[in-house]
């Protein structure tokens, strides 16, 4: 897909105006909350807590092995951080960034609470399981083997279905939550990763084939492929619902799609740093973990320039507690 010069200019102008209008001081938005970015360092078993005002790491929390992704508990009192090979779920206070202990569960990699808040679904990437736990006491309810290397997941807003990407099987699998059984399996391409429910469709990043596939949630049929850059890995929607961001892992860039048309509007270069997870701050800046730079980038969408903050090895999931003011459940994908 080519980018037309005119549309780039008009889009940049729209972003600039929108960003200036929404740009307010953190304190105005969250008077009682210290704005914190919580970053999971997969490569060194730690979590960096960053003061979003000063861009300083104010605390480093230890984990067992390999913290990857996160889910906010339905009551928003606990940030659950998945430590895959540590077989643990670390709990962090999302307001203070302090540790609240840990629970033992098998190989949690990516996770999310179902929209009815009854279950916690966990993709166990190493062990090839999709596990469904009771949300209140983390008792295992169902274990499914539906593909190799379950990676990312999202839910339909009515909570009936989940959509789980299987990196090694090259499939997207839909699971019926009530039946706790797979509904369909779609071959989407090499190394599918990030998943997002969007406008009644499922979008999945196909990292090995440079596109985002739009999948029909009823049949699993692929309806279109949107080329975003080399190695699209993860996908997010802006708080106003107008923009979709895709991190291109291999190309080292951030692609911007129009949420209504899914057309590529702009690409921000991040200089081959392995962008992964992201969050959007109240001032409109995009916080992105850079896996291979041991840094988090804070990107200004108006200028395309970014600052970096040093964190631990292989920063993976990133949570901004300023996003807690938004309605709905928060997981790594479903903003």
């Amino acid at each position: 897909m080519t980018i037309r010069r005119r549309s780039v200019f008009s889009y940049s102008a729209a972003v600039a105006v929108s960003s200036l209008l929404t740009r307010r001081a953190f304190s105005q938005l969250q008077p009682a909350t210290e704005p914190l970015a919580i970053v999971m360092n997969s490569g060194e078993a730690s979590v960096s807590v960053i003061d979003m005002r000063s861009h300083k790491v104010i605390r480093t929390l230890p984990t067992f092995r390999e913290p990857s992704h996160w889910a906010l508990s339905p009551d928003r009192a606990k940030l659950c951080i998945a430590d895959a090979s540590g077989n643990a779920l670390f709990m962090v206070d999302p307001v203070t960034g302090e540790s609240l202990g840990h629970a033992t569960i098998a190989d949690p990699y990516q996770l999310g609470y179902t929209p009815d808040q009854r279950f916690l679904m966990v993709n166990a990437l190493r062990l090839d399981f999709v596990d469904i736990y009771r949300a209140d006491d983390l008792r295992l309810v169902k274990r499914l083997s539906v593909g190799s290397m379950p990676s990312h997941l999202d839910f339909s807003p009515d909570g009936k279905w989940s959509f789980n990407s299987m990196q090694d099987s090259r499939t997207l699998v839909s699971i019926d939550i009530a039946m706790m059984a797979p509904r369909w399996e779609a071959k989407v391409g090499r190394t599918p990763a990030g998943v997002l429910w969007h406008n009644g469709k499922v979008l999945v990043c196909v990292m090995g084939e440079d596109h985002v596939a739009q999948v029909d949630p009823l049949s699993g049929a692929i309806e279109q492929r949107i080329y975003t850059g080399v190695g699209p890995h993860n996908i997010f929607r802006s708080p106003d619902g107008k923009t979709i961001y895709v991190s291109n892992r291999v190309g080292g860039s951030l692609a911007v799609l129009d949420a209504a048309t899914l057309s590529l509007r702009r690409t921000y270069p991040l200089h081959a740093a392995g962008p992964d997870d992201m969050g959007i701050a109240p001032d409109g800046k995009i916080w992105i973990s850079l896996r291979f730079r041991e840094q988090v980038a804070v990107l200004d969408p108006i200028t395309g320039s970014y600052e970096t903050i040093n964190v631990g090895r292989s920063p993976h999931g990133i949570f901004l507690n300023t996003e807690m003011s938004r309605s709905g459940l928060l997981t790594a994908e479903a903003l």
Binding site: S42, A45, S85, G86, N87, A106, L127, T191
Partner: protein, 307 residues
Amino acid sequence: MVILPILHRLGWMQWEELSFDWLLVCVYGVFAVILTYAICWPLEALMPVEPFQGRKALLTDAIYTVLARVGVLPITSFLVFYDVQVWVNRFAVQRGYIPPTLETLVPSLLGHPLLTFALYALILDCSDYWRHRLSHSFRCWYALHALHHAQREMSFWSDDRNHLLDDLIAGLWFGVVALLIGIPPLQFPVLLLLMRFVESLSHANIRLSFGRIGDWLVVSPSFHRTHHGLPAAGRTSCNYGAVFPIWDIVFGTADFRVTFPPTGDRRAPEAIATGRYLEQQWGGLMHFSAEWRRARMSKSQRSRPAP
């Protein structure tokens, strides 16, 4: 940033993170060899126990080191250890058991990675003490291990001079212990490389003891040379410890005399003492086979009823 486009082109992006870890361990391996060379070579030149007679034996030992630390070690760690660890975890989890780690067994270790790392090193070193001691206790096993002891010109390259079957047993032994204590896959090769650095130093041709207290803390060239000395070759030896002498002290096999004896094994075939790499490997296999037959004969003679 070179490896990512290659993986993408080959369609192997799902192995992205493991590939980075694998590459990192290879880099650690190269770095460890360079560091060992940079420290041990000047010391060997400054304070040798004996002059080197030729470079052929050293060159063969150097091939062993590069193969073991840059090639075999990462492959063993990730292609084998990672796969086995995943298989064991999956097997246990399917039966409702989540394998613990050292930190889950001792929660106070959480947040103390260096202490945890040191504990892993102590446990692995203890297990290696017993593997080494047992390799001297069984006739057939010692036939393989004799390749390591046959070297008459010890140097810092000599540590990795082992028969492939002996290496395989050691790798399996380490791997099982590492699995039991839940050591992280990335820490496993790093621990091995650190331990191997001490082992390289202890094999070096250096007239060096760490002093009365130092020799009790870390295995020195003097302590380990006693183990390689001609009087200690064979099935009754001493100073089996690889990194920490504590296990020799606890289990009664320590000999702290500083004597720097001549090294080697008089019973070892000449091929495994002075042959090239493949000659040593083949010679070691033949020596093992001969000892195996001898052991079977002596067993059948013992079991034959007296006339």
